[in-house]
Amino acid sequence: MRGTRAISKIAIVGIVIVIIVVAAVVGYFLMQPAKKESVLIMGTTDTVESCLDPARAYDYFGWEIIQALGSGLVEYRPGATGAAEDIVPALATSWSVSQDGLVWTFNLRQGVKFDDGTEFNATHVKYTFDRGIGIADPEGPFVGIGYGDIIENVTVVSKYVVKFYLKIPFSAFLSLLACQASYIVDPKYAPLNQVVEYKAGDARGSHPMGLGPYKLTKWTRTAGRDEEMVLEANPNYWNATGGYPKTQKIIIKFYADSASLALAIDAGEIDIAFRQLSAADINNLKTKTHLKVWQGTGAFIQYLVLQEKRPPFNNPIIRQAVAAAINRTAIVNTVFLGQVQKLYSIIPVGMFGHTDVFLTLGDPNYTLTRQLLAPLGYNETNKLTFKLWYETSGHYPQSPQLAQMLKASLEASGVISVELEGVEWTQYRQERIRETMDAYILGWYPDYIDPDDYIYPFLHSSGGSWLHHNYANPKMDQLIEWARGNTTASVREQLYEQIQELMAEDCPIIPIYQGSAWAVTKSNVKGVYLDITQSWRHWLVYKE
């Protein structure tokens, strides 16, 4: 009796298993989607921080997607350095500026359509800027960059001609128009007084763009973090006749950290890994033959800010002595495994106007440090002592290691003693505003690609007030204002040289290093351009 029961039990289990297996196999093959079309899958650890409306979006990834979905009046050609000749026509075909630099006239491209078929004309340009300045979102670039302080008004001259009247002559105006905050919005999707935010299940309604190479066909977020995005070619793109975009469909997958992103590209799950891979992961991926590692000039810089309100850094000689004791080679090689470059000016390498002014102070030059400090009474027994602050939340790459290395290189002079203080990013910002920090490390991503974006916010007495370093030099302010107001490239170049020399003399800020842009792709991916604009140009990338 027991025997037969056992057999029937086994038989039943067997039958059930067979049914399940057969059903699964048949179902799997029945429901397998048709051969996948040619798509590119990108992986990233970024996420859209606020939304995809240029009136508010002010984060790297938000701008990257806005660039794929929209177009500006002008744009940077691939391989740009930020010089005037790198700016090429996009929605505007030609432009001119008045003698005093206050009136810019743009002739618009004709016959361009938004992705929904609406024809693009001058009123859309006016609408975009009036809206951005009018909304004045405190989190957004229109306030952050100060569009309202630059633009007086935008006037529609005719259907295809638009004039910008400026409040101040502003030499970087074309660069400003090329940045993603200036991308043209579709009034149908962009209410005049309201920021467009993410709407679950409505990808088109979640962004106000529509003139770019791609359409956003899917955007899912769970709990405020992106989960998946799908970009599909926009047949109405103004450069569609030129064969762009080269890839019809791009899927973006989101990973939690560098390690899982590196594993995903290594496992072949994604075609492109772009931002943020750690230095160690990049070094590891370089050894893989099925992958290609792309290195480009980066526009991200890190620097040391010194508090000039009180001793010791109210004395420019002491600031110079500190600048002379920084060993950038050691920092680049040990902290960043050689994947960033040494920076000897606040204007990054590869950008128009850059001069290596801090090199004269040495790299490092401990003799100079000792020479400068000796008359002030600092020596081996009475060391110059200060606290160096850094953030610990991973807001910047390898912050604690960078601070350690800075401390080591400063103390190698024998006459400086550094105490380190690491705090979390949120507190770090509070301490900065309270001006409690004598010396602190900060980083900067550019808004628009122009030397002005590296000078005005740091060295000008009002433009740099957010740093709370209390640096004010009337001569410096004068030079910066001249450089901002002049549109002749050679004159600007001279002015920037003077500004940088004065900076190396005053040393309110000491540049440390400049990051590189890294992307890792499968070896058959082509068309990657990593230049100083930091743009990922989705429409140029394709798989062979």
Partner: protein, 410 residues
């Protein structure tokens, strides 16, 4: 104390518990350095803009006013809006929760089955090499850091063998939609769905009958009554839900659990993808948790095996498997059940490391994200949600306990 009084007092006790929890979180996150207002400004910040943002977030009020505002909101069932992106917290939590729940369910299943099986095996060969090996295995899995095990599995199965994906919930564009049909037009997957559900029903009934037959029990009138009333309730619910959807003209059932939604959609390809993406994270979490169950099962089994009724059962000539699993395990099961409840609750909140390692878009990652943003309302909301969840799970465990062991009800 009767069971009913017990349940009611337990439910009433959760209220002060959550209140204390909430108050503590409320105070702690405000004591922490860092200001959510400042995080809204990417680079430069103007004092007026900061003040405006402070007012918008309601942080300009005194702290006690903020506290009572939040409490009254909570009483109305309003978890508030995120201080980071201003969207409703409840929505965010519910969008992240299914991912965590799915991971928790599968890893508990894995942990319990590995744990009980190995625990029983170890107790059967007490103090023999097999026992020692299993105990060492238990200690190693318990001690191993989750992210390390996770990355190890990722490197072996995803990078080297390429059998399984590295992370995420499913292949891009493969999210199951659940059962969705407009009632005037049946979807493509409908026939397969129908076939599948028939097959599932068939399988369940075969299993039921087999179980009944094996038990050799007769169906009493009482059981029949219970069954009929259950069916009746389900039928009423079904009719009510059906009517609701018919009146809307569309039927949409989605649980947010991808393995279930893909079956509801009737798409086995999506189901297979969802399982493929689930294997590594749930295996990682399951393995790490199995250590506790191995040790617990083993020690309880060792105690039970020595008892007289086991000897008696053996003496009656029953097969060893029957004695161990049918008699001894049943008696050793109570502490394991408690542990299951506790672990499951911990899993719902604590899969943070696994979720990060496998880019799993669940609640663990949500909380980590929000702590970085100092998103006070989101953190408070998530804590309240967890508090309620944990008390429900532990209540259910206690009830099961009481049901299985009548001594508890005393």
């Amino acid at each position: 104390m009767t069971l009913r009084v017990y349940i009611i007092s337990r439910i009433l006790l959760t209220i002060p518990m959550i209140l204390i929890l909430l108050t503590m979180v409320f105070v702690i996150i405000r004591v922490l350095p860092g200001d959510p207002v400042l995080l809204h400004f990417e680079k430069t910040e103007h004092p007026e803009a900061i003040e405006e943002m402070r007012q918008k977030l309601g942080l300009d009020k005194p702290i006690w006013a903020q506290y009572f505002d939040y409490l009254f909101g909570l009483l109305r069932g309003d978890l508030g809006k995120s201080m980071h992106d201003f969207s409703p917290i409840a929505e965010q939590i519910f969008s992240a929760f299914p991912a965590t729940l799915e991971l928790a369910i599968y890893s508990t299943i894995i942990a319990v089955s590995i744990g009980i099986f190995l625990g029983v095996e170890a107790s059967k060969s007490y103090n023999k090499p097999k026992d020692h090996t299993i105990r060492i295995f238990g200690i190693v899995t318990y001690a191993i850091p989750i992210f390390f095990l996770g990355m190890l599995l990722q490197i072996i199965f995803a990078v080297n063998l390429r059998w399984l994906p590295v992370g995420g919930r499913t292949y891009p564009t493969m999210e199951p939609k659940g059962l969705k049909m407009s009632l005037s037009q049946l979807p493509e997957g409908f026939t397969i769905h129908l076939l599948l559900s028939c097959m599932a029903g068939l399988m369940i009934s075969i299993l039921c009958f087999a179980a009944l037959k094996l038990k050799g029990k007769k169906i009493t009138r009482k059981i029949l009554g219970i069954l009929i009333s259950i069916f009746f309730i389900i039928w009423i619910l079904w009719a009510w839900v059906g009517w609701y959807f018919i009146s809307k003209g569309e039927l949409h059932i989605a649980t947010g659990l991808y393995t279930i939604d893909s079956l509801l959609e009737g798409n086995l390809y999506k189901f297979a993808e969802a399982i493929r993406y689930l294997i590594l994270p749930s295996l990682t979490l399951g393995l790490v948790l199995s250590g506790v169950f191995i040790r617990l099962t083993r020690s309880n089994m060792l105690e039970t095996i020595r008892l007289d009724f086991v000897t008696a059962a053996k003496a009656r000539g029953l097969k060893e498997t029957t004695v161990i699993y049918g008699y001894a395990l049943k008696n050793a099961f109570l502490p394991i059940l408690t542990m299951m409840g506790l672990q499951f609750a911990a899993l719902l909140g604590g899969a943070i490391l696994t979720e990060t390692t496998f880019s799993w878009p669940g609640l663990g990652r949500y909380i980590v994200d929000r702590i970085n943003f100092r998103d006070y309302t989101a953190i408070q909301g998530a804590i309240v949600f967890f508090g309620i969840l944990v008390s429900i799970v532990s209540l259910v465990t206690d009830l099961l306990y009481a049901y299985l062991d009548p001594r508890i009800r005393l």
